[in-house]
Symmetry: C2
């Protein structure tokens, strides 16, 4: 595959064929929401859309293929010790570079951390993380409150989103990725320091 970034239509078609239709509908929702949030909070909407298109590209890959990509990249092998739910984000960032020629670290970071978050999230990472949680197809208790917050308080919406995520992981007796906690701690400190 050509390592240069392919044109938008070819990219959409390539990503679409790697996932079931319902996930493609979700991806379109994330694209739309990420663009709105980027414009609202002063990020680059083109980068936001690009990260959104690719964020779940590896979501429906077989586990072996995700693991192989993560090991091939080599920098984030630790994630293999955590819930498989996190793997597709790292695998997705890796193939975005390898197969789709994306070299922009902001875009790659937004794909890589769209599930876990991390300490000191960049603006584009925050936008894609939140867009993934609140795109129009999402339906969970409290989602409308987070959508309301996202209208005017990006960090407040993120904290509320992380709270929901942690509550879910606790309830389901799932392991919690430390980066998720560090992401939330960092946002709380940032909110405290700006008040």
């Amino acid at each position: 595959m050509d390592r240069k970034v392919m044109d938008r239509e070819a990219l959409l078609a390539s990503v679409r064929e790697q996932m079931p239709e319902r996930r493609w509908v979700h991806t379109q929702g994330v694209m739309e929401t990420a663009v709105i949030l980027a414009k609202r909070y002063g990020a680059d909407p083109v980068k936001a859309e690009l990260a959104a298109i690719l964020h779940d590209v590896a979501k429906f890959w077989k586990v072996d293929k995700m693991e192989a990509a993560i090991r091939e990249e080599g920098e984030f092998v630790d994630v293999l010790n955590y819930d498989k739910e996190l793997w597709h984000a790292h695998a997705g960032a890796y193939v975005s570079r390898r197969d789709y020629g994306i070299e922009d670290e902001e875009v790659l970071g937004a794909i890589r951390y769209h599930t876990s978050g991390r300490e000191g999230m960049a603006l584009l990472e925050r936008i894609v993380w939140l867009a993934d949680l609140i795109e129009p197809g999402r339906d969970f208790p409290g989602v409308d409150a987070i959508r309301g917050l996202a209208e005017q308080d990006l960090n407040g919406a993120l904290v509320a989103g992380f709270d929901t995520t942690l509550g879910f992981l606790v309830e389901k007796k799932k392991r919690i990725y430390p980066l998720t906690v560090l992401a939330r701690n960092d946002l709380l400190a940032e909110i405290e320091n700006t008040n």
Copy 2:
């Protein structure tokens, strides 16, 4: 102060005078519960009681005094970046050694990690952490379920306790100490591997 361990009565009197009466009542509850749990799960009841006596010795110290102790020890200064609620555990472990002559690392660890927990908790650490949460004076939603679990499933009771702690921190918009999440992850993995 003599660096040798003082006799039990003198130790009790010295700890008691550093806290209000209601905290002393709590400390007695933790002593009693820690001894029961130690006998139930094969830990040393004398060590469990000693850690319980001292676990909150620094709880009502002024913040400056806690911070000075943590800086004097020097090994866990990172905790100063987290909620003050965690400081007394580290300050308490440090003065247990410095002022009360405790050199037993198991006892010191049980004091040091009685609030945060940590990855790979020792048996005595588990017992004191849990005793602190479920001693007879504790009253919060779900405490009786955790007490029930503690009758026969130490790790299950610990996970339920960490879940409650995390839920509380999320609800109160407080920062979460990564060690707490690692403690819980580790217990979940241990439970998974023994089933």
